[in-house]
Amino acid sequence: MKFQKRTLGSLLIVALLMILAACSGNEEAGKESESKGGAGKSSNQKITIFQSKVEISDQLEALAKEYTKETGVEVEVWGTTGDDYFSQLQIRMNSNQGPSIFSLQNVTEAEKMKSYVYDMDSEGYVKNIAPGMELKVNDKVVGVPYGVEGFGLVYNKDLVKPEDVADYDSFVRTLEKFKAEGINGFGLSKEAYFLIGHISNYPFALQKNHYEYIDELTDGKVTMAETKEFQEFGKFMDAIKANTPSPLDVTYDKEVGDFAAGKSAMIHQGNWAYGMLSDFNVDFEVGMLPFPLMGNDKLAVGVGNNWAINGKKDEAEVKAANDFLNWMFTSEIGQRYIVEEFGFVPALTNIKSDKLDSLSQDVLNASNSGKTIPWALNYFPANIIPNDFAPKAEEFFLSKDMTGKEFIEKLDDAWKSAVK
């Protein structure tokens, strides 16, 4: 009995000590590799990738396997559900368990992560980025675009002709015509970005310099309500509310599904929607038109995501991460994956793409001919779209008597509360 007691006691103490040691030991090791570095061997180097685009996660894993087969470097791809990617990334970085390669959506996110992002200026692949598409912080390139994406009016070529939606008057006439015929003329859906995020980009992007405009807006020097692009945008929103069913009842799936079934003539979407359209085997031709705010004839083309490297990792890991990105952007397999498997419209000039779907082709054509307006929303305050804009848009679509003008004033309030 006595013996048992003593063993039990010492067992307990040992267990306790081990737990404590494990905790503190881990931390030490983590710190060491963060600060010292340079000791790892590249032969058995391992890199990790954490990225937010769910659509390509399987394909990326396949690509990682190809890379391991070719070079022996192990690549681990971490999964995510997409929505809370940035908070996940933040948590991992904070606990010193960050990935070697991660993705950043825009400048605002890059600036938040500026203590981590690796300066890519001297890397070879940076030279191939299409002009103006690189992600920069303090004039240093810190991110390579996944690809370019574009959004606008995705339309059914059997029902709509481009001249039907060339400006405000023709747009409203077209909506009224479709309403009389019992067809949904224009579809939005209830998810924050599809409800208000993308469509609210136009009045910002049509400013002479949208960076300056947004800064002035933040400083309170201008208001949306007094800017003419926004005044017309309010009129557009009025026309949409008056002539189409409420988007709050419509999910992304239903929006695209109704369009594929011919129940909607136009929806506000991007080239990413083609994946779903091809699942439906649509029997008509689809194309993308500019949203005709102030007679705009350009597509909104921009970068949705960028590859960045975690500069806080040790030298060997950073080098391995660079090697991987370089291989992905230059090797035949990597380029094939980017275009065919990921389905991206390449943002690197050294990648050829001739097998694009019709929406992506429209985006690439616009991009090549310079008929593009920027994604000003990349420079919005972080999370303003789901947090502040979407509730106001819901209010607008729910209340029968709120006008477009009042809606713009609400957006002004939303902006103020987001930057306070």
Binding site: M1, G9, A15, M93, N94, S115, L248, P391, E394
Partner: protein
Amino acid sequence: MSNKSNKWWYLLFTTPLLLIFITVVIIPFLIGIYYAFFEWDGIAANPKVFVGFENFVQLFGDTRFLASTWKTILFTLLAVISVNVVGLVFALLVTSKLRTANAARTMIFMPYLIGGLILGYIWQFIFLDVFTLFGKVTGFDNVFFNWLIDIDYALYALVFVFTWQMAGYIMIIYIAGIQGIPNDVIEASKIDGANGWQRLRKITFPLLMPAFTISLFLTLSSAFKIYDVNLSLTNGGPANSTEMFAMNIYNEIFGYSNYGFGQAKAIVFFFIVAAITLTQVYITKKREVEM
């Protein structure tokens, strides 16, 4: 075995639990209090600025937080009443001489086994498709429409789904309470000529007081802390009308990246929940009767 060695056995089994509890609850809570005094965006490498009690002062100027406080209180009030009434009625039904009592018991308890997230998504579908269709077919479209996109009804929808989820669980507690009431007391009352309602009021309810204490505590605290159903059913919408406490805190921290301010909210939230539930337990405990 002697008492002394028993002590070691207790230690062996409680230490791991205690360690886990300390690491995942106590320590984060203390660190959270610490962060509440800083202005910080939640990224380790970025600077933390000490601001003292400013975060707490700022709370009272945050209209969205105050609105969500009011919504949470309203929701909790409605939810506690409806969950307990429905749960108690169910318990009384399935302990009566109902033929299908056992099957009913299982079925009513079932929703509790479904996770809150999934439950929310299922009901989202029901409100969006089933309700609207039913309203169209029967003509009662002023009752059966998509509640989730109506600023006032969305909160009731949340109460409804929460009741659906919790009532079965609360029923189990009431059943245990009802079965604990000695049969001879009931029989004696029958002989004395008490009718069903009198028996319920004078005997069942007073003797159920301990069950009330537990049920009210459980529903109060879980209604206050509701997040999963809130997230999946309405995600705070439409127009922020159903943004409860927990969601407001999450959005503050991860949406706006105000880590310190969000923590301050969380601390205040903790004290509110603690104060309300403790008061409730104190009051109902005093009304418990000894047999």
